[in-house]
Amino acid sequence: MTNNSFDALQRALRDLAAPEPSARLLERILESRARGVRVTLPGTGRRVARWIWGAIAAAAALALIINTRDRGRGPADTGSPSLDIAATLSFWPPDALAQDAGPPRAPRYELVRIEARRAQAGTWIYRTCTMFDEGQPMCRGRFTLMIREAKWHDQPAWLVSRRQETVRTGAPTLLSSLDTAFFEPATLRPIYAAMGGTKFRLVRSFTGDTVREALDIGGAYPRSHRTAAQIPGARDAPVVVRWSYWVDLAPLLQVLPLERGWRGSVYSVRLVGPEPVKAPFVPLDLRVVGSGRVEVPAGRFECWKVEVHEGKEEGRLLTLWVSKDRGWLVKEGKQGTDWHVETVLLSATPPAP
């Protein structure tokens, strides 16, 4: 730039070059349409004035206050937590929350194909730190991921288990087993997954395209749910087990053929039974957005940077750094409005090359 007056700058900006889309983009668009993917585009009309939004927000807040005043009403139906919640609200009848979640959202990309032979046993220890704006990071969580060769009804399987350690100042370290799951080695579909502690236990069994769920909740209103549902997608596609927003992708990452520009979707299974307004099967959309060298306590790794989304409405779920050579999850980041959670690899067995 030899003359940075505004006029020259404006001319240079108008002449600024930009790349062209990749040759495969049109094919991808037509494939998505053919698979039934639909996107609701925003309108092009004028936006509603901000004061109208303010008035709507104020009205909603007023309605919420009126609805959530304590009227001493007990649970209406101990068989469903969502109906319990509905029973405490004045205007919303319990039936209003007992509706179906509707069909699952279509995956954004083709379902992932895996290279099963790349899966490996081992133990990986991670540290989790939470950082708030302007604050010191709090590093109180440490979890261990173990993958072992095992048998499930005499058939080979991967046994994946996680153990959580919570470090508290001036108190003993809490150890808790998070979950145990068996996976088919050829497809990385779950066979059996169990998790829980003193207050609840959740067991999911998978056969073909069906998941059977058993949820037992303790506490003041103990209850149990038994549900079965059909998993969408191909019967040989991998499926990820999750609990609310927590999702374990580490075993899957080992067997994904990541490369520059790679994209793929995988269905995740969350609670099937007592949350009727939440979709039980949510596709996770993964894509490689970059690469670079990452240094963590376990060593220095050349990594792919992978973003994980769960639908446009809910935004980015996770950012992952995955080692190029072995597919290890080296670093994981989750961004909130004023917080950031970062998980890094402390050590691994077998050791890093």
């Binding site: 505004f6 600024l16 790349p19 049109l26 996107v39 585009l41 957005v289 961004q335």
Partner: protein, 181 residues
């Protein structure tokens, strides 16, 4: 007379494509993509800052287009309407997924565009370093040529705010380029 006839013919052709795409015809959608895809991709790229995001924005726009075309009024300019839709999708994309702070791959890696000579590259880097609120206005007003009224509508801000941000954006760019010498 001949020109008027050829304009009418072009309008008919566009109308047929729009009708075909509304009806779910992949051929019509592909034809619209070939006619407008590159310009829309460049707009999305400038707003999002990375090829991957721009491709995903364009993917969303064309996947959602057959249903969205129900809202398109034939008397309007299709290209302008598509650009407004793309800009809205790209801006929504950027807001829900905070822009990555690291240098985009295409600036850092060996696969840079051959036409990115030193000055153009410096300007691209400077634009990418602008705060998002200034960058949006600079891209829409100065690069894409929208009026301040249109920029204000797209971003949900006042015309005065659009003018102020454009001025601040240009000042910031000049400062960044001078610092980079």
């Amino acid at each position: 007379m001949t020109r008027a006839m050829s304009d009418a013919g072009a309008r008919d052709a566009v109308g047929a494509l729009v009708d075909g795409a509304r009806g779910g015809s992949p051929e019509a959608l592909a034809a619209l993509y070939r006619a407008h895809g590159v310009a829309l991709y460049r707009l999305a790229y400038r707003l999002t800052g990375t090829r991957e995001d721009a491709e995903d924005v364009l993917h969303d726009v064309f996947v959602g287009l057959p249903e969205a075309l129900d809202r398109y009024e034939e008397r309007g300019n299709l290209s302008g309407w598509l650009k407004r839709v793309t800009a809205r999708v790209a801006l929504g994309w950027v807001r829900t997924r905070k822009r990555r702070s690291e240098v985009p791959l295409e600036l850092a890696g060996p696969e840079s565009e051959p036409h990115t000579q030193a000055e153009g590259m410096a300007l691209r880097v400077a634009v990418s370093q602008l705060p998002q609120r200034l960058r949006d206005v600079i891209v829409l007003k100065e690069i894409e040529g929208y009026s301040h009224r249109e920029v204000a509508d797209l971003l949900g801000i006042s015309v005065v705010a659009s003018r102020v941000r454009a001025h601040r954006g240009l000042a910031r760019l000049r400062h960044l380029l001078e610092d980079g010498r």
